[in-house]
């Protein structure tokens, strides 16, 4: 592999990894506070992309449409929690998981019924799709913007978690929901904030995804969601930093393995899990994770 191709794949991997990372953060945060594998999270990403698409189709400027997409997804995320998860706080964990699957089915099929299952073409403004050509490397501007924005968002999320009152409450919640209630913190409100942040990030991931691969459909969240979840576990579920690391590792692996061994192209979707299984077998709590029973960010 010569240098040009290497660099090319490096930026591609960073861009793909960023999207996994953004979605993985939501998985990891929800897991942190609720111990729930939120299977509907991948579909929230799809919801964000669709809202943006329709806002833009309605004639709004792209930037406004993006904002609507993010807020819309956050609202859907909060509603999901209020309707399907909150009543089950004290129920067995597996019931919660089933309702998560139910929500996932619901969103996928509702969007199919409402908007059809034909992929829709997602068009981003010129300044996001421009392509630079430097020394044989083709750089769509998005591959620069996406990782940059992702890292900025990570900084903001970490700031919220470590420097704000709410962040402290979120981290406390991750340790023990009972103690938090005793401390007089409204746990449900904190959980709501977690869903809002997680869903907003998923929506950003979804919009980035739609910019990079400009076709959106109601089932787009399934595989990406699963992979992002794998990334979250890979990094150590419950750890935001871990989710980002996991996301990037997955992104780079997918890109590089296929580039170096094209005959393995058919196995691409399995990498996430294969890799994950190996890591888990040697370090069962993931790369940056702590003991499962003591989640942390």
């Amino acid at each position: 592999m010569d240098m040009q191709i290497f660099l090319q794949q490096l930026v591609n991997g960073a861009s793909l990894g960023s999207m996994y990372a953004l979605i993985a953060i939501g998985y990891t945060m929800v897991y942190g506070v609720l111990r729930l594998i939120n299977f509907a999270h991948g579909d929230i990403m799809m919801v964000g992309a669709y809202f943006t698409f329709f806002a833009k189709a309605a004639g709004l400027p792209f930037e406004v449409a993006v904002l609507i997409g993010i807020i819309g997804a956050a609202i859907v995320g909060i509603l999901t929690d209020k309707i399907a998860y909150k009543p089950l706080r004290d129920a067995p964990k597996i019931s919660l998981l089933i309702t998560a699957i139910g929500i996932s089915f619901f969103l996928e099929n509702l969007f199919t019924v409402l908007f059809g299952s034909t992929p829709k073409a997602f068009s981003a403004p010129e300044y996001l799709t421009k392509i630079f050509h430097i020394h044989g490397i083709y750089l769509p501007i998005s591959v620069i913007i996406i990782p940059t924005v992702t890292l900025l968002i990570l900084a903001v999320v970490l700031w919220i978690l470590y420097k704000t009152k709410y962040g402290m409450a979120i981290r406390a919640l991750a340790f023990d929901i009972q103690t938090v209630k005793l401390m007089g913190i409204d746990a449900d409100r904190i959980i709501m904030i977690v869903f809002a942040i997680g869903s907003a990030l998923a929506a950003i991931g979804g919009i980035f995804y739609a910019i990079s691969y400009p076709s959106i459909d109601p089932l787009m969240g399934i595989i990406v969601g699963l992979k992002a979840f794998a990334a979250a576990v890979l990094g150590g579920i419950g750890s935001v930093g871990g989710a980002v690391v996991g996301g990037f590792i997955l992104g780079f692996t997918e890109i590089f393995v296929v580039a170096m061994f094209p005959e393995l192209g058919g196995y691409k979707d399995a990498f996430a899990f294969f890799f994950l299984i190996l890591v888990l077998l040697f370090k069962p709590t993931g790369i940056m994770g702590q003991d499962l029973e003591r989640g942390r960010f």
Partner: protein, 374 residues
């Protein structure tokens, strides 16, 4: 009640032609799920055809019973059983995806009910089956058309992109390679993708390295669009040729400018229609849907038309319009049916022998280039 029935029966006998009954066609399509786009476009065309003509020559009405199988094989097979037992249909029309049709075929075969698939191109769908027929050409033909066209353009080296998840793509790739090599071309590389993938940067890099004269893309349109876009973004200027799975308007919408110059083989292009029947269909389609008629819809309409013709032939021969054996015999013996997608003749294996068209994307539109006859 019994008495009433017998009176009706007697009246029907006496009335003969005057008493019109209802003949049911069971339609199995993927209206939801991964490949719903194919099912929905098929249904759009089918609706046009059914609106144009739902009466048989003896006055019997034809009713469509449409079932969604979610693109799932198990559901497809169950759907056929349901249509046969519950709805008592006389003919089955569908599916699009070859794998689903292959799940349906044995059920129809066992029930000795004719099944006509309008768009499944894999040869095995009809193989060894007495009651399964198709209204479209098969992959070996389509692959050969792609290869010949590329070679005629002087494009002697190719990279084949195969969708490892689609039997359609695997079969088509094989057919293309065979014809291309036989015609003196050289296959440089086969690149595998999976339908559902959105990132093809790695494959595009491999493609760039191989630097072929043409890329034969044998998958479906969602991947074609994204791959084209990513290839052009990375400065790959090699022409792409695809097949009937790529000819959807979404290709252009998604790929945008990158789709320019993309060629593909298809069953039909509305610009190439000449027969009055086809023109009437296209006009009705435009009126109802306000967009160009596509090939899935046209094929479904042809399938419907062939079934109607077979039923009418049965009536002519003095048989009942819902006589399954007779319908099957007539379907199998279709010769020179003037359809929307061209003149259709069914060979001894139940496959349609018909022409293919080659289209090219120009200014964001599918423009007709040429017709290739078998």
């Amino acid at each position: 009640m019994k008495k009433f029935t017998s009176i009706v029966a007697t009246m029907a006998l006496l009335g003969g032609m005057a008493y019109a009954k209802e003949v049911k066609i069971g339609v199995v399509l993927p209206l939801t799920g991964n490949i719903a786009a194919f099912g929905q476009t098929s249904k759009a065309g089918l609706d046009i055809a059914a609106a144009q003509n739902n009466k048989l020559s003896n006055g019997d009405t034809v009713k469509l019973v449409v079932v969604d199988d979610r693109g799932d094989k198990v559901e497809a097979a169950t759907a056929v059983k349901r249509l046969l037992d519950k709805d008592k249909v006389s003919v089955i029309l569908g599916e699009v995806a070859s794998s689903n049709s292959m799940a349906m075929a044995p059920v129809a075969e066992k029930a000795k009910t004719p099944m006509l698939t309008h768009a499944s191109t894999n040869p095995r769908v009809t193989k060894g089956k007495k009651y399964v027929t198709r209204a479209c050409f098969i992959d070996p033909f389509q692959g050969a058309v792609m290869a010949k066209y590329a070679l005629n353009q002087g494009l002697k080296t190719a990279v084949v992109v195969t969708d490892a998840k689609q039997d359609y793509s695997v079969g088509l790739s094989k057919a293309f390679k065979k014809a291309y090599t036989a015609g003196g071309g050289k296959i440089l590389k086969t690149i595998l993708i999976n339908s559902g993938d959105k990132d093809f940067n790695a494959q595009v890099a491999a493609l760039k390295q191989a630097n072929p004269a043409i890329v034969a893309f044998t998958g479906y349109y969602p991947e074609a669009a994204l791959m084209l876009k990513q290839a052009r973004d990375m400065g790959v200027k090699t022409p792409f040729i695809g097949a009937d799975g790529t000819g959807f308007p979404q290709l252009v919408k998604i790929a945008g400018k990158a789709a320019e110059g993309f060629m593909y083989t298809d069953h039909f292009n509305e610009a190439a229609v000449s027969s009055p029947e086809a023109k009437a269909y296209v006009a009705a389609y435009h009126k109802k849907y306000k967009k160009p008629a596509d090939s899935m819809g046209a094929l479904a309409a042809d399938g419907y038309g062939m079934i109607i013709q077979a039923m009418n032939n049965c009536i002519k021969a003095g048989k009942a319009s819902d006589d399954k054996e007779c319908i099957n015999k007539n379907l199998r013996n279709t010769k020179g049916y003037k359809g929307i997608t061209g003149v259709i003749t069914i060979d001894k294996d139940g496959n349609a022998v018909k022409s293919a068209v080659i289209n090219e994307v120009k200014d964001g539109k599918f423009t007709y280039k040429t017709t290739v006859n078998p």
